[in-house]
């Protein structure tokens, strides 16, 4: 679960990490009122999860109730897209914060390192830019330190990281303190990532988190019910929300940009199905994993969700049944077709494994023939979408 900047800064503030003061606005009038309450040089920032908001014009400046109308109006409702996500995201909120006088920008994050199975601190004196670029062009400028959860964070770790990352000595003690608070927050909220980029040094020598990128482990959200409210603020995808309502996990539906809808049982199988569709010259419209043992109701909902996407021209359902039973899948499919306005001619199903024979019989009664293999199913679904 990724948080918007203002949510991340709220968490930081509660944890004692210095952040610029600011307020959220969802309308131009709210923005005007915020500037009226505090007429000071401010930054008006689009609140979106997608990267590249600066380039897209999602960061503007204002210093009074009069001159905030135009930037707030421009950003609210702006669709911000980038190369990886051409569909983009609409900015429903702006964060209006105190403009900082920045002397230097650095980088600090804590994340989970899979290789060492530890939380890891990553720091660099080169901030305000893409950290992956720094890693590619100047890896020596990045300091990394895995932490043993048993021992936890101690100030000597902060001092060591500061030295290795070439953090200016005059802010080292502030750095050690901020890092300690970041570490405590990391465990407190079950985070996968806490990233401060840039961690700014102001002209008067103060360390301040100029941006806040927070990713919470989806599996830990149940321990912090207050995060649930933030979830709906951050999420944009209606179909994904429907999938969660239908009983699927947070990551079981992923919207993509193509026109071949895909449903399968098991994440690895569904990923392989996406690959098969791509290899056949098609473009997947979505990833949808119904999990193990899916009953007819869930299958029916899954088909309804995938076909609700206006871009979808064909659907490929790929089932290899272990616990999942072919007859249940077939029943759900038939129910989905009966109830909806989706033609069975645009649907391809591959059904193998438990109760395969029974499932095929159910399908046959509705005039549907299942294909034998994943590759066959993929090419047929692509042909329908392209045809």
């Amino acid at each position: 679960m990724r948080l918007l900047e203002y949510q991340g800064k709220e968490l930081f503030a509660k944890a004692g990490i210095p952040v610029p003061s600011g307020r959220v606005a969802t309308t131009v009038e709210e923005a005007v009122q915020i500037m009226r309450d505090n007429p000071a040089p401010s930054v008006v920032k689009a609140q979106v999860l997608i990267g590249g908001r600066g380039k897209a014009g999602g960061i503007k400046f204002a210093s009074s109730a009069d001159d905030v109308r135009e930037p707030a109006g421009a950003i609210l409702g702006m669709r911000i897209a980038n190369a990886q996500n051409p569909a983009g995201e609409v900015a429903k909120r702006v964060w209006i914060e105190q403009r900082l006088d920045i002397a230097k920008e650095m980088y600090l994050s804590i994340t989970v390192d899979r290789a060492s199975k530890r939380p890891i601190i990553i720091a660099s004196s080169m901030g305000g830019m893409d950290i992956e670029e720094v890693a590619a062009t100047n890896p020596g400028a990045i300091a990394k330190y895995p932490i043993n959860p048993a021992g936890g964070y101690w100030p000597f770790i902060g001092r060591r990281v500061a030295k290795e990352a070439s953090i200016p000595p005059e802010v080292t003690s502030q750095f050690v303190s901020v890092l300690g608070k970041l570490y405590a927050l990391f465990f407190d909220c079950g985070a996968m990532l806490l990233e401060i980029n840039p961690l700014a040094i102001t002209k008067d020598g103060k360390l301040i988190a100029s941006d806040a990128k927070v990713e919470i482990d989806d599996n830990a959200v149940f321990r912090r019910p207050e995060f649930e409210a933030w979830k709906s603020a951050a999420e944009d995808d209606e179909l994904k929300a429907r999938a969660v309502k239908a009983g699927l996990g947070e990551n079981n539906y992923v919207g993509l940009s193509g026109d071949v809808g895909i449903i399968g049982n098991g994440a690895g199988l569904v990923m392989a199905t996406l690959d098969a569709v791509t290899a056949s010259g098609g473009t997947p419209a979505n990833f949808l994993d119904v999990g193990g043992g899916a009953k007819a109701d869930l299958m029916r909902d899954a088909v309804a969700i995938v076909t609700a996407n206006p871009r979808v021209k064909s659907v490929f359902i790929n089932i290899f049944g272990g616990i999942t039973r072919g007859d249940e899948v077939a029943k759900g499919l038939v129910a989905a077709l009966d109830g909806g306005n989706w033609s069975k001619d645009k649907l391809v199903i591959r059904l193998t494994g438990t109760n395969e024979r029974e499932g095929r019989e159910v399908l046959a009664k509705s005039g549907i023939t299942a294909v034998e293999t994943m590759n066959e199913g993929a090419s047929r679904a692509v042909a329908i979408a392209n045809g």
Partner: protein
């Protein structure tokens, strides 16, 4: 022969009185696995469908001599179950549960004793065909033979094994290591075990986007620590950046963990990477036919 699990493995089920635990305990018993009982705190002393129930893993182990535990416990309590089994010195712990908080797993893996192996979480388990099955895999797709398999996936594993079996290629042990970012057993652990197993002549490795496990496996091969033929498949080549594809560990993040990088790592050590699961049996046949050159 096999790795990690064989016909003399004695298995208890943590969560045996729950719906999932009991259903799979029965399926495992039908396969021929020696399932001697299970653990549900507070229900010790009962018997459920012929399975003895204990309050604690420690008690279960003392009474039954179990050396394997399979965990069907809901996410908020699953790490606790793992650590209890490790504390009781159960040598092989297989955790099926999906959805365990990552921080819980960071703690759990850091307290495992050296003689305890954890497989999973968020895994389908493992099977040594004809000997023992500990997990939720459908036993009928497996057959006994000379090829080992290790996979991050569940159903995709069954799909691949089914094709191998139909092609007359049987398996020594198939290990599902799971789809989470923090897991107890990784590819290199399995390869090292397969290297020592005389019956295993080749290994199929089923990877996916996210993490660097596949690259570590390729590095192990490059160092000469795994000398048998490997055939790989990497799922998620067409997955977009930044999205978790079902599995919590299946994510390309900051350009790292891409399928392309994994394919390249295997190309560099001359491990064939199948374009689709259907290609795997032929690649395995070719690999087995070659004399050992590495």
């Amino acid at each position: 022969m096999s790795i990690f699990l064989n016909r003399s493995s004695v298995v208890i089920v943590q969560g045996i009185t729950g719906r999932e635990g009991l259903y799979h305990a029965n399926r495992m018993r039908s396969y021929g696995t020696s399932v001697v009982g299970g653990v549900t705190p507070g229900k010790g002393g009962q018997t459920v469908e012929g399975f003895a129930v204990f309050d604690t893993v420690s008690e279960a182990r003392r009474t039954t001599g179990a050396n394997v535990s399979i965990i069907f416990v809901p996410p908020p309590f699953a790490a606790d179950a793992i650590m209890e089994a490790a504390d009781a010195n159960i040598e092989l712990i297989v955790c099926i549960t999906e959805g365990i908080p990552v921080h819980d797993m960071l703690k759990a893996v850091s307290v495992l004793p050296a003689n305890v192996r954890l497989i999973g979480p968020n895994c389908p388990g493992l099977v040594s065909p004809g000997e023992s099955l500990v997990g939720i895999m459908p036993g009928h797709v497996f057959s006994s033979g000379n090829v080992g398999l290790v996979s991050r996936s569940g159903t995709l594993t069954y799909e691949i094994v089914d094709q191998l079996t139909r092609a007359g290629i049987g398996q020594t042990t198939c290990v599902g290591i799971g789809g989470d970012p923090i897991i107890g057993t990784v590819f290199t652990d399995c390869l090292s075990a397969f290297e020592k197993d005389p019956q295993t002549e080749a290994v199929v490795l089923v990877g996916e986007i996210g993490g660097t496990d596949e690259e570590d496996a390729a590095a192990l091969i490059a160092r000469g620590k795994f000398t048998k033929p490997v055939v790989a498949f990497i799922g998620g080549r067409s997955a977009p950046e930044g999205k978790r594809m079902g599995h919590a560990g299946a994510i390309v993040s900051g350009g790292s963990g891409t399928a392309q990088a994994k394919v390249e790592a295997f190309n560099k050590v001359r491990v064939p990477v199948a374009d689709s699961p259907a290609q795997i049996p032929d690649l395995v046949r070719t690999a087995l036919a070659q004399p050992a050159t590495r």
